[in-house]
């Protein structure tokens, strides 16, 4: 059994793929029953995925009259149309993508930069009021996102620049990507602090202690020892934040009214529901798959770390 592990095809048919040793012999009839169960589960999992893949590869914009789960044609017309003009608004896909990317990357980056020193202080330093300040951070995490959306909406709406001659509003923080970004940081920052602190807690302290003995200043310890050691944690926290921001919808839909500022997630919402009557389903499906792809790729690449991080947070609550 061990000598076949190099060949992927023989590995596919290898009885024991999980690397477990020993165990009972699985009778053929049981094996077949379990295979049937597994395949049935796989069909339910694949059902919606195959459905939109098939729809997205169809060249016809009409609504599907019969159920089709396996693509019969491979047309990229829908993808082309979506990239050309995704919504009814005169906004190109590139502009939407740019808005989404700026918002997701910007918020994740800024939140991470502000969070990392605070996470380090919470994880390693002792100071008066530590417990209280940590509760304050947790307090914000506990608040459902919508709970902060309203006051930020009202406060940002007051920040505006008007043209002194005509009196028309030139800039309103509430109705701008910058405003949405700042509002999103209010959720991303406490999450990043909490998440990073959880990771930093698992890094052994010995290196830092040795550096302190050698007389390194606190700043040197932080920049030259902690930051390099925490690099993987920083990356995972950044990507977790990015994935959340990429799908962010509540704040942007509440704040923004100008189609030029819209994000991909907002456009997808525009293509569904009561607005969807004029949007062909093949284009909707193509858009959905395009939006899903970056998150899916990151998730598959970092699956272990992400699941580990999520459950760690859950356990430590």
């Amino acid at each position: 059994m061990t000598n076949t592990s190099a060949n992927p095809i023989s590995r596919l048919f290898n009885m024991n793929t999980s690397g477990e040793k020993g165990g009972r012999y699985l009778p053929l009839w049981r094996q077949l029953i379990l295979q049937v169960v597994c395949i049935l589960i796989a069909i339910t999992v694949l059902f919606p995925i195959m459905y939109i893949i098939t729809l997205s590869l169809s060249s016809s914009g009409s609504r599907p009259s019969t159920l089709q789960l396996i693509p019969t044609e491979f047309s990229l017309v829908a993808y082309q149309q979506v990239l050309d003009r995704p919504t009814g608004n005169p906004v190109t896909f590139v502009e939407l993508l740019k808005n989404s990317l700026m918002l997701s990357l910007g918020v994740a980056g800024v939140a991470l930069m502000i969070a990392v020193s605070a996470a380090y202080a919470f994880s390693r330093l002792k100071f008066a009021g530590r417990q209280f300040l940590m509760m304050a951070v947790f307090f914000v995490i506990l608040m459902p996102g919508i709970g902060l959306a309203l006051p930020l909406f009202l406060l940002f709406n007051g920040v505006r620049v008007t043209d002194p001659t005509s009196g028309s509003v030139i800039f309103n923080l509430r109705n701008s990507l910058v405003g949405v970004g700042i509002a999103m940081i209010s959720g991303a920052l406490p999450f990043a602090i909490w998440n990073l602190k959880g990771y930093l807690d698992t890094i052994p302290k010995e290196l830092e202690e040795a550096a302190i003995i050698d007389g390194a200043s606190a700043n040197r310890v932080f920049y030259q020892i902690v930051l390099p050691l925490a690099a993987p944690a920083l990356a995972v926290t950044f990507f977790l934040s990015f994935m959340g921001n990429w799908q962010e919808f509540v704040l942007s839909w509440l704040f923004l009214t100008n189609p030029a500022d819209f994000t991909l997630a907002m456009s997808l919402y525009n293509m569904t529901g009561k607005y969807a009557t004029e949007i062909p389903w093949n284009r909707f499906s193509a858009m959905a798959l395009i939006i899903a792809s970056p998150v899916a790729v990151i998730y598959i690449a970092l699956q272990k770390q992400i699941v580990g991080g999520l459950t760690l947070g859950g356990v430590k609550g």
């Binding site: 793929t17 920052l189 302190i212 994935m243």
Partner: protein, 342 residues
């Protein structure tokens, strides 16, 4: 502290290091707390203040400086709890009850399903294990907003895949009429009186199906991790003692999974209770607010009704509910910890 004392022989220096550490800590916390002060703590206080006023679209321009703004005391809270809001079809306790039931019924299905599939995939000698594990992770990989919109299309009353699939199945039994169930709009309840006081319309079941697809694979991933850390010796010993498969499952697998699955279930409950994306994108809370949860209603009050005072009061209530839930669920998690220690 011990290593510092070792490395710094002079007592004067040690003292400075300790005070220095305090200051360094506050310096390191400063950026985060300035930012959170401005965009989180201050807005929360502002919101609490707004909740005692009749803040509405008329006051958007000048906020608290507005001449029309009136302080109304606890009227907003009273209106929310007693149905005095000028909003159709809203009943606070019905929505709260539905939200609880929604979160509870989801977790009650996801956790056992996830555990069962994880156990199935952990069967020794099962073929194609890795392929199945790879496939079953797909729902977790898809962004939930995409999933919600796709499921919304699947449940379309006319062209949706669900009705088409049901039509093909019913044709096998000789039916000729196509299934035209308006999943997301129908007011009728498939099982009337299932939850006293809270109508569970077809849209609830549609959302349950969509969220089941979305939810069990995560629980399966968590359970798989926990299963693989159970020592094989326990099963071998049980085997020698003549324990049957079900006996091994209930007496080894289930107790060993509990410390992992209880926090995962608690996390799942809290997430589902405030699951804005799926509910908003699939049904928008409809029909007639029958599938509205607290967060989607808070959003509606702000975005569509413009009743900012009432929305602020509602957000405060949502926060109090979240706080109570957190305290309860935290107790549950602690309870398992002491269970482990005992």
């Amino acid at each position: 502290m011990a290593p510092i004392t070792l490395g710094t022989p002079k007592p004067a220096k040690r003292k400075r290091t300790k005070a220095e550490q305090q200051n360094i800590a506050y310096l390191y916390l400063l950026p985060a707390f300035i930012v959170m002060g401005v965009i989180a703590f201050y807005p929360l206080l502002y919101q609490a203040a707004v909740s005692f006023t009749d803040f509405a679209i008329k006051d958007l321009r000048s906020g608290f400086a507005s001449e029309n703004l009136k302080w109304v005391g606890l009227k907003n809270y009273q209106d929310i709890l007693t149905g005095g809001l000028p909003v159709q079809d809203f009943e606070f306790f019905r929505t709260l009850g539905f939200d609880f039931w929604w979160a509870l019924s989801n977790v009650a299905l996801h956790v056992p399903a996830g555990v069962l599939v994880a156990v199935l995939l952990n069967t020794q000698g099962l073929w194609f294990k890795k392929i199945y594990r790879g496939l079953y992770i797909l729902p977790v990989v898809f962004p939930s907003i995409v999933v919600a919109t796709v499921w919304r299309n699947i449940f379309d009353g006319q062209y949706g895949a669900m009705n088409q699939a049901l039509t093909s199945i019913s044709q096998l039994f000789g039916s000729v009429d196509p299934v035209r169930l308006r999943w997301l709009e129908e007011y009728a309840q498939p099982i009337p009186g299932m939850l006293p006081g809270v109508p569970l319309v077809w849209a609830y079941y549609a959302m349950m199906i969509a969220n089941f697809w979305l939810g069990w694979p995560f629980m399966c991933v968590v359970a798989t991790g926990a299963l693989q850390s159970i020592p094989k010796e326990l099963y071998e010993a049980a085997e020698i003692d003549g324990a049957s498969g079900p006996q091994q499952f209930w007496n080894i697998t289930v107790p060993m999974l509990r410390p992992t699955m209880v926090p995962a279930a608690v996390l799942g409950f809290n997430t589902t209770f405030n699951l804005f994306g799926l509910v908003f994108w699939m049904t928008g809370g409809g029909p007639a607010r029958a599938t509205e949860i607290l967060v989607t209603f808070a959003y509606d009050l702000t975005k569509n009704q413009g009743l900012y005072g009432a929305a602020a009061a509602f957000a405060v209530i949502v926060f109090i509910v979240a706080m109570i839930l957190f305290l309860i669920t935290n107790r549950i998690t602690r309870a398992t910890e002491s269970y482990d220690a005992a």
